[in-house]
Symmetry: C2
Subunit: 277 residues, 2 copies
């Protein structure tokens, strides 16, 4: 693991690291913020999964998470959203597929299946690397994310019961296997058998019996992707049927950007902090 940069911020340390990934068969980069409390003891770990087109850097620059994380003593890890590299297959002009659009799943279709294994990367490989290299308490993990990363956070929590003490999302894609902007990616990564898609779809996972203890979602009402891409009411309906307590905050006037995310970032971190103990 190589340190690409490190800087003091809010009395903690914001680092960027690169390592060879077996899961993705390429070098992967992630950002990790360690709060000042990590100097004295292992701290809880909150995963932030980013949305389409993002790298680790967007939320590191614009997410405004360090103030709350430093105050509450929580490490924040921000992985990349896909494998990358000259040898990694991609559709250069398609922002909804390939680089920046890994959808936190393990692709099964060639040529994508060699590298696009973000579910294994985030679910297994990266946690092992983090546990071995940083003073974090892996018994106290939580996860959240934005848009495609909100979908990723919710599906990872649903499929790994017990690993995350809590899960929340900003403007998640509630039903990516059906939404127009993500369905083509599911087809290409996972093939024609729609049954296989259900393992990476929040609503389908809940319908199929997966559960989280509760869920917090913030969604801007002025989000241009609300009606066609995100549709939180589908998640609301599924949670209601399944008896999962969902706090869905519909926010007047907010869009899909980091101006929205950063506004409610401290709220989400405080909510996770309560559950991380």
């Amino acid at each position: 693991m190589e340190t690409l940069s490190i800087a003091k911020s809010f009395e903690g340390m914001q680092g960027v690291y690169r390592h060879r990934s077996d899961a993705c068969q390429c070098d992967m980069t992630f950002a990790m913020f360690l709060p000042p409390q990590a100097k004295d003891r292992p701290v809880p770990l909150l995963w932030y999964l980013s949305g389409l087109t993002c790298t680790h850097q967007n939320v590191m620059d614009k997410g405004e998470y360090r103030c709350a994380a430093a105050e509450l003593g929580i490490a924040i890890i921000c992985p990349d959203t896909s494998p990358r590299g000259d040898h990694v297959p991609d559709e250069k002009d398609n922002w909804q597929f390939g680089s920046g659009a890994g959808f936190y799943l393990d692709a099964t279709e060639a040529p994508w299946s060699t590298n696009y294994r973000m579910a294994s990367y985030i679910g297994e490989e990266l946690p092992e690397l983090i546990a071995a290299n940083f003073p974090v308490d892996m018994q106290r993990q939580a996860i959240f994310g934005h848009s495609m990363g909100g979908h990723g956070a919710i599906t990872l929590a649903l499929k790994n019961p017990g690993r995350f003490k809590s899960v929340s999302a900003f403007a998640p894609i509630a039903r990516p296997s059906v939404a127009g902007w993500s369905r083509p990616a599911f087809e290409k990564y996972l093939g024609d058998d729609e049954a296989a898609w259900r393992a990476y779809d929040s609503v389908a996972l809940i319908e199929d019996g997966h559960r989280v203890p509760e869920l917090l979602v913030d969604q801007g009402k002025a989000d241009g992707f609300l009606d066609d891409g995100l549709r939180p009411w589908l998640l609301e309906e599924a949670c209601e049927k399944a008896g999962i307590p969902l706090q869905l905050n519909m926010r007047d006037g907010y869009d899909h950007s980091y101006f929205f995310i950063s506004t409610f970032m401290a709220d989400h971190i405080a909510w996770h902090a309560q559950r991380l103990g």
Copy 2:
């Protein structure tokens, strides 16, 4: 004036605007955050001047000013750092001169003197535009900035007594007419007569009798530009001789980046808020 983008953030509105500048003879872009209080009454205005290589966007993305500004009811304006455009002369490969390096002065030497008139732009033209277009109280202005923008903020406050209720800086260039990374710019913009440079040099202005009521400066001790470029002790010495109360906070471990700036942003905004009433 054209609105390039606008988004709700922290219950206020973060906008980006473009207008034709007479002072700079080109289109200029700036960012303006209006806190929620601006819906009800004119709010105080805090100017943030950015450092070398920056546009309006760096601090808008990474400065983390909206939370404190919204809470305290202060508008934050973030201008660009130089004129820009195909017709504007530049030294493309020089990050310390030309585009992104206007040094908040009015150039007197050809070919720079046509466009590089940032002192007039920030000092006269932009305030008039702002007063005419936004619900801000121009009787309650303050100014701060980073590095080259810290120099800009201090020199503008020194030269415009009464206009700004308060002035502060992150890692300002204390003596730009002497420091190695800024002296060549002074030569090219202002010519060989070093007497003319004193009008844009914080320390020289103080030596020449200009005053501000007090000054707040934060400086990272791990800042790579500290010893050669910034040298806050020169400012400290000048302030002491002149009887200007200076609060100089030397911060262990912090560098020159926005990771440093954002850490102390809320402190500075609160300090200005007290003085803006």
